[in-house]
Amino acid sequence: MTTATLTRRQRRRVTLAGQYTLFVIAIAFIALTADWAALRLNFARSEVARDLFPEIITTALKNTVIYTLTGFGFGAALGLLLALMRLSSVPPYRWFAKVYVEIFRGLPALIIFIFIGTGIPLAFPGAKFPPGGTTGKVAFALGLVAAAYMAETFRAGIQAVPKGQVEAARSLGMSSTRAMRSIVIPQAFRIIIPPLTNELVLLFKDSSLVFLLGVQLQEKELAKFGRDMAGSKANATPLLVAALCYLLITIPLGFLVRRLEARNAKSR
């Protein structure tokens, strides 16, 4: 019997124990060395947090949700249009859609928002464009960004529908538009609901950039509200509360995505 050589199971145990020890030491080091008192004073003052309510919900969170949903709606419509252009037999449509997607996916949303915030009033002075006041402007800006990502998602979804589906639809006398509407898009939609929900989460976070478009007091969303309140209270607690509000929405959405993905995987 030798003691020098370990069995495979013993070796695995030693490795796992080593990993786990390192992990615990790292966490403990951070927890013990951090100045928790200072953090709590700056980020978790309950009297500051109390002052934020109910505005942080009734105004800020509400606006974040409105901006995100309108932006998502506009982005989805534009994204679907771009996806259809990308798949079109007309070359200029394809080029346009491709260039659009490349540009808007390749730029930070921050820069796009600055361009829109300053560029639109210059390009259309005095004109009511886009319509709908601040919400319209936000939906427009968020939608332009989201459309680029969603166009690719839609395209992948449409292309994932087997060619035989279109052939069957056309053989029944459907026009190509009708086949797209009644047969392809409903099937593509089911495939892309999980990635589309992911896009909604991203957009939810991107809505924090709307301060670049200039918003009034009643139009503030979570991030802007949190920052302004943190400034006026000289305390970072509002930011922590705002962050928790984001998680309130994004974590359930993430959970939903995983559920939908699991369901899709099962149905195939």
């Binding site: 035989g164 589906q165 052939e167 069957a168 639809a169 056309r170 053989s171 047969i183 099937q187 149905s267």
Partner: protein, 286 residues
């Protein structure tokens, strides 16, 4: 303009048809017709162009040259409303191509309602009649994924029939089926032929062709090599290529010692029409 509801001339009339995919010429000058009430079976080795010919008939493939007439209307004429002509042509695919997001009834009614503009009650009634015809009247609420391959193909046939077509195209309708499910589909097709439906069937089922076809066409390398009654073409073929093909199909065991290696799909010769006429005996595939 030509009206499409007046039915004149042969059901299908193909003249001088050529089709190339890039450099690959799949059809090399086909003259072919199907008269009203005829059941024409197109046979031949894989790659002979028989499926392409069938797909050119309803313009799922655009011919490179030549003309296709359906009931006297030229489908290859740029000014003809192809969708309107396609409404009169039923098509059954090898891979069924049912719409997976719709129930069986949804599959059977969507084109009736969206294309023909029929009301829900009328579309449902017609769909139900046709499901009954293929022996699946009780599966209207099922989704395609819940059906066996044989059942799916019979639903696909019922879906085409619901449009009230003048003629039906079958593109190897049993090639994707498990052998024990083939009989039900062929039985439905035979009933259809007995009802007088005009049919063009691309198939490897020699006994079906022999029993049901009014005419058999043998294709090889993009040309029609031989055509005639089933007794002539299958029973006593005159061309060497037809003989070789049939020998290999009807006696697959001998093909192993034959000189030409054939990569063809599963070929079946042992279809017993009497044993097969038992609809819905097959079980769901999953």
């Amino acid at each position: 303009m030509t009206t499409t509801d007046q039915y004149a001339g042969p059901a299908i009339d193909v003249r001088g048809l050529h089709k190339s995919f890039g450099d690959n010429e799949v059809l090399r000058g086909i003259d072919f017709h199907v008269d009203r009430g005829e059941v024409v079976c197109v046979i031949g080795p894989s790659g002979s162009g028989k499926s392409t010919l069938l797909r050119c008939v309803n313009l799922l493939e655009e011919p490179t040259a030549g003309q296709v007439f359906i009931g006297g209307v030229e489908l290859t004429d740029e000014n003809v409303d192809v969708d309107a002509v396609r409404r009169r042509i039923g098509m059954v695919f090898q891979s069924f191509n049912l719409f997976p997001h719709l129930t069986v009834m949804g599959n059977l009614t969507i084109a009736q309602r969206r294309v023909l503009g029929r009301g829900k009650a009328e579309a449902d009634r017609i769909a139900h009649d046709n499901l009954e015809k293929v022996g699946l009247a009780d599966r209207g609420d099922a989704f395609p994924a819940q059906l066996s391959g044989g059942q799916q193909q019979r639903v696909a046939i019922a879906r085409s029939l619901s449009m009230g077509p003048d003629l039906m195209l079958f593109d190897e309708p049993t090639s994707a089926l498990d052998p024990e499910l083939v009989g039900d589909v062929l039985a439905v097709m035979r009933d259809l032929a007995q009802d007088g439906m005009t049919m063009m069937v691309v198939t490897h089922e020699m006994s079906f062709a022999r029993e049901v076809a009014s005419r058999v066409v043998f294709m090889d390398e993009g040309r029609i090599v031989e055509e005639g009654s089933p007794e002539q073409v299958i029973g006593s073929p005159t061309h060497e290529r037809t003989k070789t093909f049939l020998q290999r199909v009807l006696d697959p065991a001998a093909a192993h010692v034959g000189e030409v290696p054939d990569p063809g799909p599963r070929l079946r010769a042992g279809f017993d029409p009497t044993a097969a006429h038992l609809p819905s005996s097959d079980q769901p595939a999953r």
